[in-house]
Subunit: 148 residues, 2 copies
């Protein structure tokens, strides 16, 4: 596992930095905008709540955590007024986690930061290389996302 030195790094490890960089930028921007009570793990869940709402089990799958962890994090987001839980009209067992009140404000900040970061990265890589990167990562997801 120790191959950090001169040897070239594996692709999975190389993916670590952009992923973390975006998360850090997002959290920093949210703190700067006054939303200083969202943690990294909560953000990772909140980032996967789609328009209309998303089920807890889906959030857990996409964030690669257990239902218990996702539930706990949604509890906290709900308590802080970012999300709400509503019944899923298509399945009485299920509930949809939706962005609420403050969460909608957060979405706007997050989208702006994501756009900024992606513009920076595109400027650094070039349009073509960025398109190729995206295509490769999307194709890679076909075999790396266990829930797709």
């Amino acid at each position: 596992m120790a191959d950090q030195a001169a040897e070239r790094q594996n692709l999975g490890l190389l993916c670590f930095y952009p992923h973390r960089a975006l998360e850090s930028r997002l959290l920093a921007a949210l703190v700067a905008a006054g939303y200083d009570d969202i943690t990294t793990a909560q953000g990772r869940i909140a980032a996967r709540i789609g328009p209309g709402g998303t089920r807890l089990t889906a959030l857990a799958e996409q964030a690669l955590v257990t239902k218990q962890t996702a539930g706990h994090l949604v509890d906290q987001l709900e308590k802080a007024g970012y999300v709400r839980r509503v019944p899923d009209p298509t399945d009485a067992r299920a509930r949809l986690v939706q962005m609420a009140g403050r969460g909608l404000e957060v979405v706007a900040v997050a989208r702006r930061v994501e756009a900024e970061v992606e513009a920076e990265w595109t400027a650094h890589l070039g349009e073509e290389a960025t398109a190729q990167l995206r295509a490769a990562l999307e194709r890679l997801r076909e075999i790396t996302d266990p829930y797709r």
Copy 2:
């Protein structure tokens, strides 16, 4: 932050899956090989220990955690016989974390799995696309790794 639906996903998020996929494969392989007491976070530190040893502060920077967290994880790895701490001959304050005993065995398993995973990904993407992905991620690291 909630843009998971039909909208295309940002690059940072797309990087999440390969990174996690590799970590999961590594841990599963280690468990299968009998090293079932290494946690994900410990693995993330151990993966950055270079030949000759690496300082705690460097491990913390690369793994994007605090010195305290890195120290705690190294404590555990040391206690389990995977690493050892030795004085850094160039700085009396510093110590080098080196792979020890069981850790060297773990390295061999890890390298094999990393090679397997990368071969699978290359087979899925194609040689050229993989080379482009690597080049793009390495260039991206120039602006996403805060400690380089």
